[in-house]
Symmetry: C2
Subunit: 212 residues, 2 copies
């Protein structure tokens, strides 16, 4: 197909497609003349994937490039999958924050795998730093969540994570990277949207008025 | 205190404080001379709150203004709290999306309060639209989550939401709005950070190697 049809089928403008081509996020088409190239379904899929990472995952273009790199060249060990996926999509906090409350929570939850990983890193662990930064944001705003609520957050997330990890395909590294990277980034908006709907559901249970 | 001390104690630059003053997000100080004003602890608290909403909650300034407005002038009915909090922090999807998968999921979860609210809105419901958009993003990227995983997402979020809603203070509307609005916005990064740590925990459980 020509560029115009590629644009129509992927929902990405011609100007943006040209930008992705120049930056190597999208492979060149097959030249049919000096000024024209042909594109195939692989290009459509790739553009839909980029669009989802940008629009749904809200990733900056640098992170999109990194995610695509891991999908194109998956690491050899399944064990490394989560690490590369998480590094690609986690930005370290802008300034140093007190990590003690994050470590307290991890200890209370009994998450020994995380404690072991984090304590083994001399420069600190960005996943723990992200939690510390989020907890610090609440404290700065004068809103400290009670311990039992944080514990329940942790238990609910472990339940979600166990179901996700159980579904990681182990037969193909490419499929596994795709599942982990996209699953992590693209399902965050699903979780947050469900949480808001769940709040409405729970609020209805607590504050429902009797019909007149 | 003077502007310079206010800046130091709140962690917000003088230029940004002046911008918030001009835009009415922060109340004027008490003039001590034509060119100088004094500020108090209330100003420090307010700036920390704005900073948390911008940096942790990643809200655009328009949404920050709306959130502050609800905290300053809370609605009379506790029942309306969640609605105003959610409207302030939810942006409607940029383009129309197929809402059928979102309604299917709500029906499967048996979330009748949401179905009733959504079906009563002629222009559609932005909370359901946000879920539909998130599910559409996954589908566009070629990654559909299995139904049982989505069901588990929903169950985990309802568990979280019930604990949150149970903690809403009912004695003071101001305290309630503060809890709901800040809790919704500022605890999202906590949940997402915990989820990533939980994935690492669950991954350790599944893929742990035996020690040599």
């Amino acid at each position: 197909m020509k560029m115009s049809e590629l644009s129509q089928r992927s929902g990405v403008s011609v100007a943006t497609i040209k930008y992705y081509l120049r930056n190597g996020l999208l492979a060149e088409g097959v030249k049919s003349s000096p000024n024209q190239a042909h594109y195939d379904d692989g290009h459509v899929q790739r553009l839909r994937l980029i669009r989802a990472l940008v629009e749904v995952g809200r990733l900056p273009l640098g992170a999109v490039r990194e995610v695509l790199g891991h999908i194109d060249r998956p690491p050899a060990e399944t064990l490394d999958l989560l690490a590369v996926a998480q590094d690609a999509v986690t930005s370290p906090p802008g300034e140093p924050v007190d990590q003690a409350p994050a470590f307290d929570l991890l200890r209370r939850l009994g998450w020994s795998a995380n404690l072991e990983i984090a304590e083994g890193q001399a420069d600190g662990d960005i996943a723990v730093a992200a939690l510390a930064s989020a907890l610090g944001g609440l404290a700065d705003a004068g809103l400290e969540l009670p311990e039992d609520l944080l514990d329940r957050f942790g238990a609910a997330m472990l339940d979600v994570a166990r179901a996700e990890v159980a579904g990681i395909p182990t037969d193909s590294p490419t499929a596994a990277v795709r599942y982990v990277v996209l699953g992590t980034v693209l399902s965050e908006p699903v979780l947050l949207a469900l949480r808001r709907l769940a709040q409405r559901e729970a609020s209805g249970e607590r504050f429902a008025t009797q019909p007149d």
